[in-house]
Amino acid sequence: MVDEATKRSLAQIPLLKTKAGPRDGELWVTRLKEEYQSLIKYVQNNKESDNDWFRLESNKEGTRWFGKCWYIHELLKYEFDVEFDIPITYPTTAPEIALPELDGKTAKMYRGGKICLTDHFKPLWARNVPKFGIAHAMSLGLGPWLAVEIPDLIQKEIISHKGRADEK
């Protein structure tokens, strides 16, 4: 289902407590704080294990998220813009993470560059409402997607490295 490394890093992400979506007023603010705490911890963990791979920030309402994610392939860094909205049904339904610049370049995407997740993701998410948050969606959704799709896109020469200036 998910590889051991993902499982281990997933277990390190603090779970969330508040079941609230963007229509829930003050409760959403509480949830949003938990989201940030969980994300901060996840990014810190990634840095410590030398596996830093994304940055995210949101608008002040916490309904729209954007940032960057990157993938290292054969010592070269490939970086992409990442964005998603928090649906009004969140956290019952997971956010639909999108990489707009790859829209149309791979069949494993829905319109607008939303990544196509595996059959396992939705049941896993559903079983963990409301404990899973954005950090979990990144770890279980976008992480494995990049690991499968990016090497494939590079190999098919659909994407290429943007030049040495982009490197870390």
């Binding site: 779970l15 229509r23 649906p87 339904t93 639909e96 069949a107």
Partner: protein, 397 residues
């Protein structure tokens, strides 16, 4: 270089050509019809529908013009659904979709290659108005699942009827994803709005419709999504390099079921179906009624259930006899063979949570565990930091 004279001549020619095209088009676009007639003449677009009255199927077909239906998602199922309702002479249609027409849609019905690039709702409105100018339209090109659009979406369901301020009569969900279905479910539970959910599986060989009356029948959040079993082994289902397959056939069949049920409900003929599945591989059609889950995750669903219970309690009771199913008991068991499970039934039930009773050929897509008070899980600590501080901390990483 062309002279002014030759250019003027060219303009005249083009103007004449344009006028000719316009005249032809005008002849195709018939004027609006104020009253549905049952006169059987070639020029009456409603004669075959009104014949349903003469045949004793429908009492009052012309009532269809008083109804408003909202179609959410005008893709493979929704566009065909909207076309059927348009041809049936529905009073008003509200269409919602944020997608554009693409050449990749051409394996399904309705849209045409020259419409590629247009928004689906805009393209649909244009075609449908040509087919039947009597139908009123309201179209919205946006994603209903985001905060900004959701409020507007709900407001239109509540007030978008034929007479402004009245609710629509029925919402039809023809979307292709779980998030949008849950969004419609949220809106309809809050508004107490009846709706019919529809769907086609990603492997294109099964589909379903489900009529949801908030409080009375199972809502979309009452149970995990139902799956029509097609006896294909999911492990052998190849998903290499694709997200979803689609067939015009399955989509049109589901659209047909959806509109048939809509007509039966609105015009009051036949039996309205609560759940109808379609297994295209074995041609199997499971059908059943799903009761709501008292522990539903959606608070408005629970409120609607209470309201329905109160309403039901005031109605006179009808006695029902229950059928007894005889248990199979083997008379002799010489070797004293017993089946012993490694997990207890309680453990299994806890892991699977609430699973609805389903007819043969249906299963839940997945199960969700019953809520537990796990104490050893690592959750976020309570924090004194403000949201702004946390946002800054995240940016500073």
């Amino acid at each position: 270089m062309a002279t002014i004279e030759s250019l003027q001549k060219k303009i005249k020619e083009l103007e004449a050509q344009l006028q000719k095209e316009r005249n032809e088009k005008q002849q195709i676009n018939r004027p609006k019809i104020t009253q549905m007639s049952s006169e059987v003449v070639d020029s009456n677009p409603y004669s075959r529908l009104m014949a349903l009255k003469r045949m004793g199927i429908v009492d009052n077909y012309e009532k269809i013009r008083e109804y408003t239906v909202a179609v959410v998602g005008v893709g493979g199922v929704g566009s065909v659904t909207a076309e059927m309702l348009t041809r049936c002479g529905i009073g008003k249609l509200l269409l919602f979709d944020y997608d554009k027409v693409e050449l990749a849609n051409m394996n399904r019905l309705f849209y045409q290659p020259h419409q590629a690039g247009m928004s689906k709702v805009e393209a649909a409105e244009k075609t449908l108005k040509e087919i039947n100018p009597d139908v009123e339209f309201e179209v919205y090109n946006y994603n209903i699942t985001t905060m900004d659009n959701f409020n507007h979406f709900m407001e239109r369901i509540k007030n978008g009827g034929l007479k402004e301020g009245e609710p629509v009569n029925l919402v039809l969900s023809c979307v292709d994803n779980f998030e949008a279905r849950m969004t419609i479910n949220t809106a309809c539970n809050e508004l107490g709005q009846n709706w019919i959910e529809s769907g086609v599986s990603e492997n294109a060989v099964s589909g379903h419709i489900q009529f949801i009356i908030p409080g009375e029948t199972s809502c979309f959040a009452c149970a995990p999504p139902l799956v029509v079993a097609t006896k294909t082994d999911e492990k052998t289902l190849k998903r290499e390099g694709v997200c979803a397959a689609s067939l015009p056939t399955t989509m049109a069949v589901v659209a047909g079921f959806l509109v048939q049920n809509t007509l039966k409900y609105l015009l009051g003929f036949g039996d309205v179906t609560y759940y109808l599945g379609y297994n295209a591989l074995q041609d199997y059609f499971p059908s059943m009624t799903l009761r709501p889950n008292p522990q539903c995750d959606d608070n408005y669903c629970k409120k609607q259930q209470q309201a329905f219970q109160i309403k039901e309690a005031t109605k006179p009771k009808v006695e029902k006899t229950e059928e007894k199913v005889e248990e199979i008991v083997h008379d002799d068991n010489v070797w004293e063979i017993q089946l012993v499970s490694e997990t207890t039934e309680d453990e299994l039930r806890e892991a699977d949570g609430q699973v609805p009773n389903l007819v043969e050929g249906l299963k839940v897509a997945y199960t969700t565990p019953a809520p537990t008070q796990a104490s050893n899980e690592k959750t976020v600590d309570s924090t004194e930091k403000s949201l702004d501080e946390l946002m800054k901390e995240m940016q500073g990483l």
